[in-house]
């Protein structure tokens, strides 16, 4: 192999460093969305079904805004998945002959399972949209002509298999973010002996808060705290 000539037009998308930047930037967009989504969902604890329904109405108030947000998220998910798939192919080619014995010193369960937690989360996202946006899994509850988000959520989570899948997906999301929320800083070049340990703690904390927050809702429905 000879020294390579740098061709600018296709260069950015060709190196793995650039692909990791794509993963990090799209990851951060999705993370931002998750924070907002959890904050909205927690309105279900306000004791007043109207609170979360009003919030849902607000989100749908302006179709251009709604669709802009949806398209941004969709594009982020697609780019994230494309970059993940390309990187995975690169990695598969990198070691044609494996080891008989290989320890996993230094890495952790979350970092090694990104390629599993990611696709399962993707399946979950499709299921979730079919469930609570499209109403194809459990019919959506209605309050007059308006969708009744509060009761739709409760109807869904009373089905144990649905709750179980939500909980499983959120545990995997926790793992994905435990590694991802720290790794994304590294990918865009942010690292410092003093702050990187703090970033790792930030990642673990947010991964946990998000997972516990989301999981609490199906659990609360099942044990009857929300009804």
């Amino acid at each position: 192999m000879s020294a390579i000539a740098i061709n600018r037009t296709t260069f950015f998308c060709r190196t793995p460093v650039a692909k990791k930047v794509v993963m990090a930037v799209t990851g951060v967009i999705l993370f931002g969305y998750l924070i907002g989504h959890l904050a909205g969902n927690l309105l279900i604890y306000s004791g007043n079904p109207a609170a979360i329904n009003r919030y849902a109405e607000l989100l749908h108030a302006s179709p251009p805004m709604l669709w802009t947000a949806r398209i941004v998220l969709l594009v982020a998910v697609i780019l994230h998945i494309i970059a993940a798939a390309q990187l995975w192919l690169l990695k598969r080619r990198a070691r044609p002959v494996g080891y008989c014995r290989k320890e996993e010193t230094g890495s952790n369960y979350a970092s090694r399972t990104m390629i599993w937690s990611g696709p399962i989360i993707a399946l979950f996202v499709i299921f979730h949209v079919l469930h609570l946006t499209a109403g194809k899994i459990v019919p959506l509850a209605m309050a007059g002509h308006e969708p009744d988000v509060y009761h739709s959520v409760i109807d869904g989570f009373r089905v144990p298999m649905i709750s179980a899948f939500y909980i499983l997906a959120m545990v995997l999301l926790c793992l994905h973010l435990y590694h991802g929320l720290w790794s994304m800083f590294q990918s865009v070049g942010v690292s410092h002996p003093r702050y990187t340990p703090l970033l790792k703690r930030f990642a673990a904390t947010f991964a946990f808060i998000l997972a516990i927050g989301f999981i609490s809702i199906p659990v609360s429905v099942m044990i009857g705290i929300i009804r």
Binding site: A3, R14, T15, P16, A18, K91, R95, K102, G106, V188
Partner: protein
């Protein structure tokens, strides 16, 4: 002490290889790992068998020539230690050890435990240099280098290019190596003129060699005999990203 070794034997780069079992008696705890293999090789030679090929040169942990996997860990179980500096006192009687060559597409096996690491040389050739005038040596202190910068550079320059990072990486990436080389020159004033091109070219060359990407697992950092940390990989990413933004590039050749 007595050890059981399972060693990868492969006659040449194209022959199929396999693990072969050897029993070694009378291993002294004062031997280094490589001396233990020397003893085994003496016996194999006397028996008329082909000795086990492995690389070594300085045997004092500074040249980066040695290296193979011991029980699934690059350079064996002792942190920050090359396999030539690993002593048998860290093992005990009856231990079973698996020795395998570095496994990465970029490092084809030459024979047994010896691999071809010239991919790393080509990465350095792609950008791991600074341009200086020939002629009279410049005055030593003409270019001030801040202490912190010098420290970062020297820490990265400790890289001996052994390839353990790529061998250990679950993805088969040599980012710790490439990052160390980019950091070593890229943080110094002398390294500034080529800074952008260095990052672009070295990353591109590593990709060209079939070395994959960094997932920030940290297994490289755990086995690096020189204690180089993931910080160099972040710095490589930073230099690369900045270069992408500011470098106009060259006309295609």
């Amino acid at each position: 002490m007595k050890l059981t070794l399972h060693i990868w034997r492969q006659a040449n780069s194209t022959a199929p290889g396999r693990m072969v079992k050897y029993e070694v008696d009378d291993v002294s705890e004062h031997m280094s790992f490589l001396e233990m293999l020397d003893v085994l090789n003496e016996k194999l030679t006397l028996k008329g068998e082909d000795p086990i090929a492995f690389d070594s040169d300085c045997r004092e942990g500074i040249c980066g020539t040695c290296g193979f996997m011991v029980n699934g860990v690059a350079h064996g179980p002792l942190p920050k230690t090359t396999v030539c500096q690993l002593h048998m006192r860290h093992f005990k009687d009856g231990d079973v050890l698996y020795l395998e060559p570095w496994r990465t597409r970029a490092f084809p096996v030459i024979k047994d435990l010896a691999v071809d690491r010239s991919a790393l040389d080509r990465i350095v050739a792609a950008g791991g240099f600074v341009s200086i005038d020939t002629g009279a040596a410049p005055d030593a202190n003409a270019i001030p280098v801040p202490k912190e910068r010098a420290e970062i550079s020297m820490d990265a320059a400790a890289c001996i290019g052994c390839g353990a990072c790529a061998a250990m990486c679950p993805n088969g990436s040599a980012s710790l190596f490439t990052g160390a080389k980019i950091t070593h020159l890229g943080v110094l004033p002398q390294g500034q003129p080529e800074r952008n091109e260095r990052a672009l070219r070295m990353v591109a060359q590593a990709t060209e060699e079939g070395l994959s990407y960094c997932s920030n697992h940290g297994e490289c950092e755990a086995v690096c005999p020189k204690g180089i940390t993931l910080e160099v990989i972040a710095r490589m990413n930073r230099h690369y990203i900045k270069a992408e933004w500011v470098d106009r590039g060259q006309p295609a050749e």
